[in-house]
């Protein structure tokens, strides 16, 4: 029963909450959407924290996403042992990179007085959730080989069933506790997006690539105002 609640009800609650609150906030409280960068207050150790963290986590997340979309292809790719090892080693290396970055970021936030001045409870929550996620992920990768294989074969069907609105717990129930925590925490993370600085990755400015250099805005259209 509790598995039902945690793995087939909670994900929906989390996602719906995330979507609804995000939309409402984006519409009515746009001011809150910011990276809340603290580089201005402390720039040096941010570099060693933020850059490895972001690179590591983006690549790991991309891996999860690709496997979600193309599980068969991943399995086929992994059928050659050398390729499997390559994938696993890369994934683990990136996760460790992210962990190192995250650890530095946490250390920085706790120890720098200026950073402390702009730290709120939500920042601690954010760091805690991320830490749990990365550590549980690394524990899984190390303790339950080969993650890229069984994620594609056993977890993706569950995630897809959620996606198709026909939740099928399948193998989830029998998974070790590390995996369960990893899944649950992922949905906690999603739920927290609109309430924390996580919003920043919803507004990554891809539009910049195609934008003209200069932007001019008018209070009113000059060609019409003259005639009026």
């Amino acid at each position: 029963m509790s598995d039902q609640l945690l793995f087939s009800v909670f994900p929906y609650v989390a996602v719906i909450m995330a979507v609804v609150v995000t939309l409402v906030r984006y519409r009515f409280q746009k001011f809150k959407f910011s990276s809340l960068s603290s580089q201005f207050l402390e720039g040096k150790s941010l570099f060693w924290g933020s850059v490895p963290w972001h690179i590591g986590i983006i690549i790991v997340l991309a891996g999860h996403f690709v496997a979600f979309l193309l599980p068969e292809q991943i399995l086929a790719f992994n059928s050659v042992p050398a390729r499997l090892v390559l994938l696993e080693v890369t994934g683990l290396a990136m996760a460790l990179l992210a962990l190192v970055g995250l650890a530095l970021l946490i250390f920085r936030r706790l120890n720098n007085k200026r950073i402390q001045a702009v730290t709120t409870t939500s920042d601690y929550v954010v760091l805690l959730v991320l830490l749990v996620q990365v550590i549980s992920g690394i524990m899984i990768a190390v303790g339950h080989r080969w993650g890229s294989n069984w994620y594609a074969s056993s977890m993706v069907p569950y995630l897809r069933s959620l996606f198709l609105l026909k939740p099928n717990l399948g193998f989830v129930v029998s998974m070790p506790w590390t995996v369960k925590i990893h899944i649950l925490n992922a949905f906690v993370f999603i739920m927290l997006i609109p309430f924390t600085r996580f919003v920043h990755f919803l507004v990554v400015p891809f539009q910049y690539v195609n934008r003209p250099w200069q932007i001019v805005r008018w209070n009113w259209d000059p060609s019409r105002s003259r005639k009026s």
Binding site: F31, V51, Y208, R217, W220, D221
Partner: protein, 495 residues
């Protein structure tokens, strides 16, 4: 020809007394808030000096502005793609210590102190951490050449000078200084705008004011590093960037921006310039030596019937054209050509112009002190105390001829006025001085008048902004009654 209007400014540096009234007026009005305490949208620097933030002119360090690569110009700090990498950590971003850590004093300790043998003190506390701090520097720590070993000697404009030349300048007898008040230049080719990945920065079509939309800014802080003048600032509390808004809420109701209104030396002029939008891209790509001429050429003559016709076709209101005709800025910049942009080599086409100061130049030291003997006025420019090279590095991309021409004009006006009021110069000599710099008596008088006898209305010519029309275009006017017209309706809070 696509005619656009821009509210632009001239600062007459000979008149600045370095009182910082402008800075304080601005601070009181706009940046007296948490996260903005360290921001001085208007600041006054002593030159030679390192300025605020520290050595802001050193673009090898800050990488602001544009550079020309081959036939194209690009942002010096980062290409569009690099910007995505720099989002995690912007290598060119100045940090708080490059400005200063804002502080206040524990005044309540003075009042609440128990009776004791010693005087109570109000110790300084940081406005960021709230803890006691040791004040190491402030936004004008280089005022009046104080600490010149640390500040004046490190002026980036001296970087090209030899150590000897530099040391010569700091002989006590030769020491010389000037003030440089700075605000955002509301550039025609703003690099802050070009660098904003979110597209939150925009230039207003009506008056060319460059603004940051606080609701669209995401705190990627690229504008802070891309503005070569360091006139965008990151609010560390709200996580948004902010900059000088040229007091647009005041301008829209016909009031003068606070820094200009309060200026004690009355050094500031504000008015409309019409320019040809089609030329701007071209000008921004010109060779360094042509940048200033190119920019001035793009400014249009508001009396020319052709221009007036084109302006109307481009949709400019009659009131705007009229304001352009009365503009004091037009006179300084285009008619008389005695105002120059600051560091035009950054290629942002700044629309704040400076009349370079004559005073630190003139008092040339001969054996016995100041040399003010007759008929040597132009010579004193040649043998100036403050090397022309220094002024040229500020105001004319290093072209000494350009600055010298301006100074000679100002000097000729002086000689002319001295003859008029004191009568100890000879007429023919005065005429020669005027004709040598291409001025006639009428213009010389006009320059004199606008320099020292100008009225408030002559210094500031603000066009009607026609916000009523702007509202009519979008909604029922009666419904909009009582609306403030600017700002956001939410409290500026972090998430």
């Amino acid at each position: 020809m696509k005619v656009r209007s821009q509210i632009s400014m001239v600062f007459h540096l000979d008149k600045c007394i370095g009182c910082h009234t402008c800075s304080v007026a601005c601070k009181n009005l706009w940046t007296d808030r948490k996260g903005a305490e360290y921001m001085w949208w208007n600041n006054v620097e002593t030159k030679p000096g390192t300025g605020y933030p520290f050595r802001w002119e050193d673009q090898n360090d800050y990488n602001g502005g544009w550079i020309k690569k081959g036939s194209r110009i690009e942002l010096k700090g980062s290409s569009k793609l690099q910007a995505f990498k720099n989002i995690f950590h912007n290598p060119n971003l100045p940090v708080m210590d490059d400005y200063y850590e804002p502080w206040t004093y524990k005044y309540e300790d003075l009042i609440n102190s128990p009776e004791q043998d010693t005087q109570p003190t109000a110790r300084p506390v940081s406005l960021v951490t709230g803890e006691y701090i040791d004040i190491k520097g402030g936004p004008n720590w280089d005022d009046d050449l104080s600490g010149s070993e640390e500040f004046a000697k490190n002026d980036p404009n001296f970087d090209k000078m030899s150590a000897e030349e530099k040391d010569g300048l700091f002989n006590l007898q030769r020491m010389v200084m000037m003030y440089l008040p700075r605000i955002c230049n509301h550039c025609l080719n703003p690099s802050c705008l070009a660098s904003c990945p979110s597209g939150a920065i925009y230039k207003r079509g009506e008056d060319g004011i460059v603004l940051i939309n606080q609701d669209a800014c995401r705190g990627w802080r690229m504008c802070v590093s891309a503005c070569p003048y360091k006139k965008t600032f990151y609010n560390w509390e709200t996580g948004k960037s902010e900059k000088c808004i040229l007091c647009f809420p005041r301008l829209e109701v016909g009031e003068v921006p606070a820094c200009m209104h309060s200026c004690v030396g009355r050094i500031r002029y504000l008015g409309v310039l019409l320019y040809d939008q089609d030329q701007i891209e071209n000008v921004a790509h010109m060779e360094e030596g042509q940048l200033i001429d190119g920019q001035v050429n793009a400014i249009l003559n508001p009396f020319d019937p052709e221009v007036i016709k084109a302006a109307k076709e481009s949709g400019l209101a009659d009131s705007m054209i009229e304001a352009a005709q009365k503009s004091p800025v037009y006179k300084w910049v285009k008619e008389w050509k005695v105002a120059l942009p600051l560091h035009a080599e950054y290629r942002t086409l700044p629309m704040l112009f400076y009349v370079p100061p004559l005073l630190p130049i003139m008092g040339n030291i001969s054996e016995n002190g100041y040399d003010n003997s007759n008929h040597t006025y132009f010579t004193s420019i040649e043998k100036s105390r403050l090397p022309i090279q220094y002024l040229a590095s500020l105001f004319s991309c290093g072209d000494e001829g350009k600055v010298r021409d301006v100074l000679k004009k100002l000097m000729a006006v002086r000689i002319f006025r001295r003859e008029e009021s004191v009568g100890d110069q000879s007429k023919p000599w005065v005429q020669k001085a005027l004709s040598e710099v291409g001025l006639d008596e009428k213009t010389a008088n006009a320059i004199f008048k606008l320099t020292s006898m100008c009225t408030f209305e002559e210094r500031f010519v603000i066009p009607a902004s026609h916000r009523e029309m702007a509202i009519e275009m979008t909604k029922m006017v009666l419904e909009a009654k009582g609306e403030t017209g600017f700002g956001t309706s939410n409290k500026p809070e972090r998430i």
